[in-house]
Amino acid sequence: TLLAGSRLLKGYRGGHVVIRFALGGCTNRPFFRIVAAHSKRARDGKYLEQLGCLDPLPNVYGEKVAGLNLERLRYWLGCGAQLSRPAEKLLGLAGFLPLHPMTVTGAERLRRRRAAPSAPSMGPEKG
């Protein structure tokens, strides 16, 4: 049993707790679990606690359903957990954190890219 235990109790050098998405589901059917885990662990490996989920495919009503356990999220953030960028963006969209600057920048870039082909002559002027 000691041999089996040594595989389970992994000791790391460095590493910190992150809150990130773990991918699950089947072929052509992704499903994310929002998870607090060590940063050195595999993406879908053993985690400390599941804090919620996100279904990236829209349902019958055209919504992407996400659940967030805010109380435990606050606990882990209080313990000093880091957030991955997609997790930060999702929490920004939810309103729990302020909007991520890359969300704003991405929106701006998208708008510019959409505007550019429609008016190619005005492209160099816009800069």
Binding site: G52, P58, V60, Y61, G62, E63, K64, V65, A66, G67, L68, N69, L70, E71, R72, L93, A94, G95, L99, T103, V104, G106, A107, E108, L110, R111, R114
Partner: protein
């Protein structure tokens, strides 16, 4: 249609008793504030569904037909168990059965329709066009009551708003499933399908499923209940709901709309004079300014006289009530003579 009875309906009443008690607690806490304000207005404020006097009257009218309350519910087949009991043990068992029946007959709450939620938390117009679908975020904290849970929707135009009641019910059912409830409300509760079920005389099953599916203050719950009561009143099928927990709600609905005449005739025809007089007492409590209420208060009438006064002044089916009373008195005289 066979799924109507088999939907875990045995487990549903136990859960619903707890739900009803929880909701009752919620209502009672809210109601304290309302009653305090009503006391300030004066004793002439309209009596509500939850008043003790009203509840007593409705409970008396519901009746306690043990055979109907404990009739076989569709469960898994088990061979019957026989017990050998003395007279005293049989009385004890009957008493316990009556207490359990009282719990089963606890009336589901009658509330006013809920106000639609319309609250915007943030407007970020520059996010317009980035996403093609909206996001619904639910707070999964276990210790928060469902009414206070945060459920927000980030729309495609960047607006962050609180979710509507239908979205709330769906999300709560997805993450905290309750037995007997579906995520998407069944097609049964649409008006055209309700008519088909009413023709099969399955009003009680519809109401049980409605209680399991919807919150008591949702417009769907109120609409289904009102349709059921209207259909029962149209075809005079009052006996279907007697001795069930829906009877009180039906009586409250009919008396509020002054359509209690058919029910009165049905009660007299079944020789339930006590129920008839308590029905008229309830009517007077709810409409104290009508002439029959004033006459009854002056004369302090009881029983048959009360019904006669009511028939003369208030009712629209006066002839039928007189006929029913006549038939009842003849039957009483005949039974006394023989």
């Amino acid at each position: 249609m066979a799924a109507l009875g088999a939907c875990g309906s045995a487990a549903v009443p136990a859960r619903l008793c707890r739900v009803a008690r929880v909701l009752w607690g919620w209502r009672a806490r809210r109601g304290l504030g309302q009653d305090a304000r009503a006391m300030g207005e004066g004793r002439t404020a309209k009596p509500s569904f939850t008043d003790e006097a009203v509840q007593n009257l409705l409970y008396k009218m519901t009746g306690l037909n043990l055979q109907k309350v404990f009739r076989p519910v569709k469960m898994e087949l088990k061979p019957p168990k026989y017990k050998l009991m003395t007279e005293a043990q049989l009385e004890e068992a009957t008493r316990k059965a009556i207490e359990e029946a009282k719990e089963k007959l606890a009336m589901p709450p009658v509330l006013t329709e809920r106000e639609p939620i319309d609250d915007v938390l943030a407007e970020d117009k520059f996010l317009e066009g980035t996403e093609s679908t909206k996001y619904v975020f639910t707070d999964l904290t276990y210790s928060v009551p469902h009414r206070e849970r945060f459920i927000v929707v980030r729309e495609t135009n960047g607006v962050l708003r609180k979710a509507t009641w239908e979205e709330r019910d769906r999300m709560i059912q997805i993450f905290f499933p309750k037995e007997g409830r579906r995520v998407i409300p069944p097609v049964l509760f649409k008006d055209e399908n309700l008519m088909a079920v009413f023709q099969q005389d399955r009003h009680e099953d519809v109401l049980n499923r409605c209680i399991a599916q919807f919150e008591p203050d949702s417009p769907d719950y109120i609409r289904v209940h009102h349709r059921t009561y209207d259909d029962i009143e149209k075809h005079s099928k009052y006996d279907l709901l007697r001795s069930t927990r829906h009877f009180g709600g039906m009586v409250w609905y009919l008396v509020n709309r002054k359509q209690a005449d058919g029910l009165l005739i049905d009660m007299i025809q079944r020789d339930l004079l006590d129920d008839a007089s308590s029905l008229i007492t309830l009517y007077h409590m709810l409409h104290p300014e009508c002439p029959s209420a004033k006459e009854a208060k002056e004369g302090n009438l009881q029983g048959v006289d009360l019904i006669k006064v009511f028939a003369k002044t208030e009712s629209k089916k006066e002839g039928y009530i007189q006929l029913a009373l006549q038939a009842y008195e003849e039957a009483m005289a005949a039974s006394r003579a023989s």
